[in-house]
């Protein structure tokens, strides 16, 4: 099964790339597109034979051990 993990900086942390993108979009006339923040998306395959609980545990463990730095980031698993 293919899963997507969305990782983003916590909302209280300034995300300067989003600010720059917002400025560029505004220069192109997209002044109504605001509060832009850029994150990252990781796609991966999880074995199909895992039960939902095992799958969640595996993903959570990988996120905590390497994929996400919870001091600055938060993550969400997208189906």
């Amino acid at each position: 099964m293919r899963l997507k993990i969305l990782i983003r900086l916590k909302s209280q942390i300034l995300e300067p790339q989003g600010k720059t993108i917002e400025q560029s979009l505004a220069n192109l006339g997209f002044k109504d597109l605001t509060n832009i923040r850029q994150g990252k998306l990781i796609e991966l395959d999880v074995p199909d034979n895992l039960k939902s609980e095992e799958k969640n545990k595996l993903i959570e463990s990988a996120c905590k051990k390497l994929l996400v730095n919870e001091i600055i980031e938060e993550y969400e698993v997208l189906g």
């Binding site: 300034l14 300067p16 051990k65 730095n69 001091i71």
Partner: protein
């Protein structure tokens, strides 16, 4: 007693050789060059995690290096109370391991900074004890992620336990407008509570010879040795 040290090289480290000559020239003791896949460290007094772009800075700076084979022994070395110093990418690796508080975010100006900066000592420790309180050190920085961040409770811990080793200042000893990368409290370097681990964004190993733009980087090794 001979002072022994080691420098760890990760794929993508690029200040490892500078760190080795820095230690060879200033400590006069043996300096071991250790590849990250090795599992044991020699018995040394100081380990340096050098600057560079370990594992291409993929995922997050220092994230992959913090899981390298040698790190288990680096942690043991530090837990025994011996010195451990992470410079630039090494500082990022130390926060990713969890040996130091906080994290290093992208510079708030979004630019890679490669220039000399000014820092001064804030809290006394074995890495800066030979440096006068009012001494301003001129040391090069070369980083894209040097913007130190931590939450409020952690910052309180850093302040209460006097863990801020160095802070950015300007040549006139003012902290205003000297904050080159957006770091909380102008933090350029911090220690752990036992004060045997230092993480530092500026590069002292690029500022210790007469032909360098400054020799202030010497003062850190002199502090350790004194």
């Amino acid at each position: 007693m001979t002072f022994k040290s080691a420098v760890i090289t990760f794929p993508g480290s690029n200040c490892d050789r500078d760190a080795v000559t820095y230690l060879e020239d200033l400590t006069a003791g043996p300096v071991y060059k250790i590849w990250h896949e090795e599992s044991t460290l020699p018995n040394v007094d100081l380990v340096i995690l050098p600057g560079g772009f370990s594992f291409g800075d993929y995922l997050r700076s220092g994230a992959m290096a913090s899981k390298s084979q040698i790190i288990k022994d680096v942690v043991k070395h530090a837990e025994s109370g011996k010195y451990l110093m992470g410079i630039c990418n090494g500082f990022q690796i130390l926060t990713e391991i969890g040996l130091l508080h906080g994290a290093l975010l992208q510079n708030n100006g979004l630019k890679f900074l490669g220039k000399n900066c000014f820092i001064k000592k804030r809290n006394r420790n074995n890495f800066n004890k030979s440096i006068d309180d009012d001494k301003i050190l001129e040391i090069p920085v070369a980083h894209n992620e040097g913007n130190f961040y931590c939450d409020e409770d952690t910052l309180k811990d850093l302040l209460d336990n006097e863990l801020i080793a160095f802070e950015y200042c300007d040549g006139q000893y003012s902290l205003d407008e000297a904050n080159i990368n957006g770091s909380l409290k102008n933090i350029a370097g911090i220690t752990n509570k036992k004060k045997n681990i230092l993480g530092l964004m500026p590069h002292p190993e690029r500022a210790y010879q007469k032909y360098h733009s400054s020799e202030d980087g010497k003062l850190i090794i002199e502090s350790i040795l004194s």
